[in-house]
Amino acid sequence: MTMTDEALMQAVQRGDLAKLGALFDRHHLAVFDFLARMTGSRAVAEDLVQDVFERILKYRATWRGDAPFPAWLFRIARNARADHYRRREFTATYTDAMDGEDPAPGPEDRLESENEAARLQRALLRLREDKRELIVLARYREMKYEAIAELLGVDVATIKVRVHRALKELRDIFLTLESRPTCAVKTSLSSSRTI
């Protein structure tokens, strides 16, 4: 029988560290996707995924098992990303450039072709971080608003309003990047109702 995430984590806590590999296999793509969309850099996201799972190892004793494992995992992922940017501010001169460690989101990791998806990606990266996070969680992680509310520590109604506002702001940024005179986001009502 397949072990639940929580059972695997309890095994890790008891010292069966190899079980972390199974948790990694199950969740690393979701964590990577979240971090890659938040940072705009595949390389940074891969480093942060490593950091997240190392933190799980290091702080395994603090896992209490009273919340679903993915909620704990995403809390750690958010902290890892925040710490990464904090470290970058303070340790820019400490970084070994020769090693290529700690790369800034680079053009090689972005979609370069000037198609609509690429422009929208750029718009997303220009959106303020807290708003980008809401969209990434709601749209790409398909997280329920209740789960996002719990993760961010605010009530559900506030999350819904904030997602709406973040989308409007994203649309405005997207439109400023739009080179063509016609707006790509104008479509027919019938298509919008098929969501």
């Binding site: 990577f32 891969e46 190392e54 190892l57 979609l111 790409y140 709406h164 989308l167 707006c183 009502l189």
Partner: protein, 265 residues
């Protein structure tokens, strides 16, 4: 339903999470409200377009290999910390560990001065020295397990002040060279390992590291290390570096190393 209600429900509507009654109410409102209709159309299209941004693909295999290495590292570190509860405590309390390091240094200086004029040390003084050595070792090892790279760096530097052969310190330094994620800490471990350079295990680890380390700075330090210790067993690894290292300075330095070990490159 009013325009404000649509705003509140729109995120559910876009995500397809509005129930049938809510959807019907929203759509009924949109039929009679051009402003909300336009807003909803735009955001719905944006929501769909967001789904068209391709998902980036990670190097899952490489990441899994690094996690496996981290698990091994943690297993090793756990074994090292399983005996002394004091070290576990210090590992979890970096500030206390830092204070302890300073205190141990201060006590060492005072004790050294107090006993240097007493060549015939009493058993009590000898015991005190031993306790100080143990304490230094414990603080060093706990610093080397901190999450902060700068604390680990302090631990590696502090290891030079631990007297004696210090097998545990040696094992920790070798582990740091092999597994530490921070290049500056790995670099410091190469320096710290120099005082153990006569040990076969250290020479072997340095040669292995020449093949596995990818940081040019660490590679350069290792080349200097094997030249300083005149380790002719490193020639093969140096040759590989001189031919295929990604960095040109490293390739040149490796060729220089081969020459200095008395071998034609």
């Amino acid at each position: 339903m009013r325009c404000e209600d649509v705003s509140l429900k729109l995120s559910d509507y876009l995500a397809g999470r509005a129930d049938t009654a809510e959807r019907a109410a929203i759509e009924k409102h949109l039929e009679g409200c051009p402003a909300c209709l336009s807003e909803t159309e735009g955001l719905a299209s944006l929501w769909r377009s967001l789904g068209e941004i391709p998902a980036p693909a990670p190097d899952s295999q490489g990441m899994r290999a690094r996690i496996d290495a981290a698990i091994e590292h943690e297993r090793f570190a756990s074994n090292r910390t399983s005996a002394p509860a004091q070290r576990r405590f210090l590992a979890n309390h970096p500030l206390v560990a830092a204070c302890a390091a300073t205190l141990v240094l201060a006590v060492g200086v005072v004790l050294g001065r107090a006993t240097e004029r007493a060549p015939a040390a009493t058993p009590e003084v000898a015991a005190l020295h031993q306790e100080l050595r143990d304490l230094k070792q414990m603080v060093t090892l706990s610093l080397m397990q901190q999450q902060s790279a700068s604390e680990r760096l302090r631990g590696v530097s502090f290891s030079n002040q631990v007297d004696g052969s210090g097998d545990e310190i040696l094992a920790a330094l070798l582990d740091t060279l092999k597994h530490d994620t921070n290049v500056n800490v790995r670099l410091a471990s190469v320096d710290a390992l120099k005082r153990f350079a006569e040990r076969d295990v250290v020479r072997r680890a340095a040669v292995d590291a020449l093949d596995t380390q990818r940081s040019p700075l660490v590679q350069m330090a290792l080349i200097d290390f094997v030249v300083e210790t005149q380790d002719r067993g490193a020639v093969g690894a140096l040759r590989r570096l001189s031919e295929s290292a990604a960095n040109e300075t490293v390739r040149t330095r490796a060729a220089w190393g081969i020459e200095h070990l008395g071998v034609e490159s």
